[in-house]
């Protein structure tokens, strides 16, 4: 089976009108406009198979949303190839969008003044979903996302978390095989985030929906994605499993030690102090240079330790390092 989504060497540049500062500058801008080129995508390529749940991450302005909007058929790229289920999104827009669902986390696709259920019915008509299929799909979505009590509430009265659950359902009324989620957990509280994650995981596992998820929340990625594509400045930096991403940036592991008292200095030739908060010290070490058992033995022999554990550095740290390396900033002390 060919990949569900093919992206090859995608390039997109925005032309932005420059405005000079001050009154004189504004007047000059009326006569002769100067444009600044802003590269959003600079040769992005990846393939995604049916049923994959891929995390698409990168710093602000990296080109995440531009990619998602190109895949949704909203933006036309300058060059490159892009196919979703064998269609070019911006050329066969109407046929294409009938088979995808989208959620842009910062905006709603529900009708502001109407009760939630009426937005769903409107989408049913817009996507020409037959009544029986709509009934089955909406009943299931309402049950899974616990929307029952919200259906008669006008959208403008919903909380952000409630609205996002409704937005997810709205994107799936027509049962699309492909779903694009652009920052679906932005601004949500912990409970709502968990609800969204559980739902997305189930969608992928039970129904085989292909999902691309952009986010800044690394917990989303860790909880959901087997595969991560990292982009920065319009280029793919890394594409693979979370473990591969870790291995590429650093093999470092962390040994966190709770000391018996505050005023003990900890040091070891094979480890560096990542951070220290009161009695808790975090040591970074390379497991190939020194085995965790050996390091633990040395540290506990030298100092009075009340508790300790070994862990991987959080994914935020890994990703931050990757971004820094790309932008040429000297690697932070961690």
């Amino acid at each position: 089976m060919p990949p569900q989504i093919i992206v090859e060497d995608l390039v997109k540049t925005y032309r932005i009108a420059q405005r000079d500062t001050g009154l004189l500058g504004s007047v000059r801008g009326l006569v002769r406009r100067q444009y600044r080129e802003l590269g959003a995508l600079d040769g992005v390529s990846f393939n995604i198979d049916a049923g994959e749940l891929v995390g698409y991450i990168g710093p602000n302005g990296a080109g995440k949303s531009t990619t998602v909007k190109t895949l949704s058929g909203i933006l036309v790229p300058d060059s490159g190839r892009c196919e979703v289920r064998g269609r070019v999104p911006w050329r066969q827009r109407v046929e294409h969008v009938a088979e995808i669902g989208v959620v842009f986390g910062q905006r709603t696709q529900l009708w502001w003044d109407l009760p939630v259920i009426e937005s769903f019915e409107l989408l049913r008509d817009i996507y020409r979903v037959p009544q029986e299929r709509y009934k089955a799909a909406s009943d299931e979505l309402i049950a899974l996302l616990d929307l029952g009590p919200l259906l008669d509430v006008p959208v403008r009265q919903l909380s952000l978390g409630q609205r996002m659950r409704c937005d997810l359902a709205a994107a799936l009324i027509h049962q699309p095989p492909v779903l694009f989620l652009d920052e679906p957990t932005i601004g949500l509280d912990a409970t709502s985030k968990l609800a969204v994650r559980d739902f997305v995981r189930g969608l992928c596992r039970d129904r085989g929906v292909t999902v691309i998820l952009t986010t800044h929340d690394m917990d989303d990625i860790e909880a959901l994605c087997d595969r991560v594509i990292v982009i920065a400045s319009g280029k793919v930096l890394c594409d693979g499993s979370l473990d591969a991403l870790r291995a590429r940036v650093s093999r470092q592991r962390w040994l966190t030690v709770d000391l018996a008292s505050v005023d003990i200095e900890v040091s070891d030739p094979d480890a560096t102090v990542v951070r220290r908060e009161g009695q808790r010290v975090c040591l970074g070490f390379d497991p190939q240079a020194v085995s965790p058992a050996e390091l633990i033995a040395r540290v506990t022999a030298k100092h009075a330790v009340s508790d300790l554990f070994v862990e991987n550095p959080p994914i935020e740290t890994i990703v931050a390092r990757l971004y820094e390396a790309e932008s040429g900033v000297a690697t932070a002390t961690t």
């Binding site: 925005y14 949303s65 909007k69 949704s72 058929g73 909203i74 933006l75 036309v76 827009r93 109407v94 046929e95 969008v97 009938a98 995808i100 989208v102 842009f104 910062q106 905006r107 709603t108 696709q109 009708w111 502001w112 003044d113 109407l114 009426e118 019915e121 409107l122 008509d125 817009i126 996507y127 020409r128 652009d182 920052e183």
Partner: protein
Amino acid sequence: MNWMRPYLAVLSARFRSMLQYRAAAIAGLWTQVFFGMVNIMVYEAFYSSTDKQQPLTFAQVVSYVWLGQALLALLPWYADSEVRAIVRSGAVAYELCRPIDLYNLWFMRAMAWRTAPTILRAVPMVVLVMFVFPLIGLGEWRLHSPTLAAGLGFAAAITCTLLLSCAITTLMNISLMWTVSADGTVVMMNALVTIFSGMVVPLPLFPNWAQPVLMALPFAGLVDLPYRVYVGNILPGSIPLIIFRQLFWTVVLVLLGRWLMARGIRRIVVQGG
């Protein structure tokens, strides 16, 4: 009918959500009754100071003014606030993610946006100025009822006005793809539409030399032509010609809008995020 289903659904949803703004409609009603009366007083002074035969009788002008106030919301003098909001916020991205024709979608939005407030205002206003005014001694200032033929002709012509008005509204909405705020377009259209449609002064009262220009522009079809059918200034025999002119301009503006939209979509940059 299946191809119409999405568009009818959008029309009906918008219509229902517009009906929630009843208080605005009632407030608008009083403003417009006041405006209409001020207008009529000016015409009364004008008509009583001249013996010359005028193109419209005083009674015809009064009816013309009231129709204008009752049907003010049909006039395309402003870009659709909802489309403005979605372009500004970037939610227009969702509009492009729907498997339907964007022009038709916006046209239907415009139609709901024009009809809902018109119905909310026109019905109580007509009841007031047609039936209540004679009872409270304002019989001279009332909206006269049309003859049967004029009434039927008016119904047909005002339906075409709705289509023409939606075509102009959608054209203004499409200009948002270039300017985002559309303030410039709106100010310009506002002036063109209110003056050249007959909303400010009935077109027959303009000088004779201006008549060919006024009649050549599409705006006469918004106000002047259907209202003159109603008041009997245009005879029923000419009604097919008027409807033809309205539909001709509607088709021209729809084609222009579709052409511009196709270009606009290609250059669209979704704001933010």
